[in-house]
Amino acid sequence: MREDDLEHVLSNEEDLLPSSGFTASVMDAVRRDASLSPSIPFPWKRALPGLIVAGLALMWVFVGIVELALKAGEAQPAPVQPTVLDPILRAMISPQMGWIALVLLSTIAFVRLALRPVSGKS
């Protein structure tokens, strides 16, 4: 088979004619689609305060842990080699952690409240 033959065959295929009810079927689907109410958009207005608080809380937690880790490092001449977990464990029993936990819990509550209309629960 020559190049020309190949191109000729490839370029000359019969076309299908749409079946008689095709247009009506498409227009039915289009009208059905148009009659549906638009999907509920994500409630950014409601979620934004919660998201901002969540972001700030995460930053606060991060900064708090870093600060405590630095303090712990300075305060101890460490006769014993400190492990990586030491500052974290110390941070967990410090009184500041209570506040951090409170902020985290309130953030989770905010986010859940904001997501409630999206999940359809009243």
Binding site: M1, E3, L10, N12, E13, L16
Partner: protein
């Protein structure tokens, strides 16, 4: 190559026969007159169904895929920026949909090496021209998808390289390379397939 027009199922980027009608209908739909979309469907149903058919070789599925393409076009009509022709936008949307549909549920194909080209209508022991044409088309359908898609748009659907590249979202050079490679595979495989066919029928 056949002349291109909306009526015969082939696209021609140069032909702007329906461009102003498309634009007017789109504006009507966007203003809330949904029935104006019917004119768009009537104008482009042939090309969209034929394009789908060339991707899946199943008439029923082709109509389903074309209907879904129209529905998506309707939903996204406001996104059509008038820098490109409506047909270009519509065919890009349809091509993307057809490709992803076929990735999701592949059409039934056999590899080009395993093709059985016997046609029950061929009774004289040799391949008539139409049988040979059918064999070529089936061989195209059995090509790896990246070559098949380029060949379908360029040959079966009459698009030029630029339009095919836009529809596939690829650089023109890549489309040219895929066309060339696809043709090379066909040229390499078809003589063997046709010879095997002749031998089978001669027994």
């Amino acid at each position: 190559m056949q002349p291109c027009s909306p009526g015969n199922g082939r696209i021609c980027e140069g032909a702007r026969v329906s461009a102003s009608e498309d634009q007017a209908d789109v504006e009507k739909v966007l203003e809330g007159d949904i029935s104006a979309f019917e004119a768009i469907v009537r104008r482009w149903q042939g090309p969209l169904i034929n394009l789908a058919y060339r991707f899946c070789r199943d008439r029923g599925r082709a109509e389903e895929m074309a209907q879904e393409a129209f529905l998506r076009a309707f939903r996204a009509l406001a996104n059509w920026r008038k820098e490109a022709a409506f047909s270009t936008w519509l065919f890009r949307l349809a091509t993307n949909l057809y490709r992803s549909e076929l990735r999701r549920i592949p059409a039934r194909t056999v590899s080009i090496a395993d093709m059985d080209l016997r046609d029950p209508r061929a009774s004289d022991g040799g391949l008539e021209q139409e049988d040979q044409n059918r064999a070529v088309r089936r061989a195209v359908f059995a090509l790896p998808s990246k070559y098949r898609e380029a060949l379908i748009l360029f040959y079966f659907h009459g698009m030029d390289i630029e339009a095919a590249a836009r529809s596939l979202g690829l650089p023109e050079g890549t489309v040219k390379a895929r066309l060339s490679r696809g043709r090379a595979i066909l040229r390499g495989k078809l003589p063997q397939i046709l010879t095997a066919q002749r031998l089978t029928e001669a027994r």
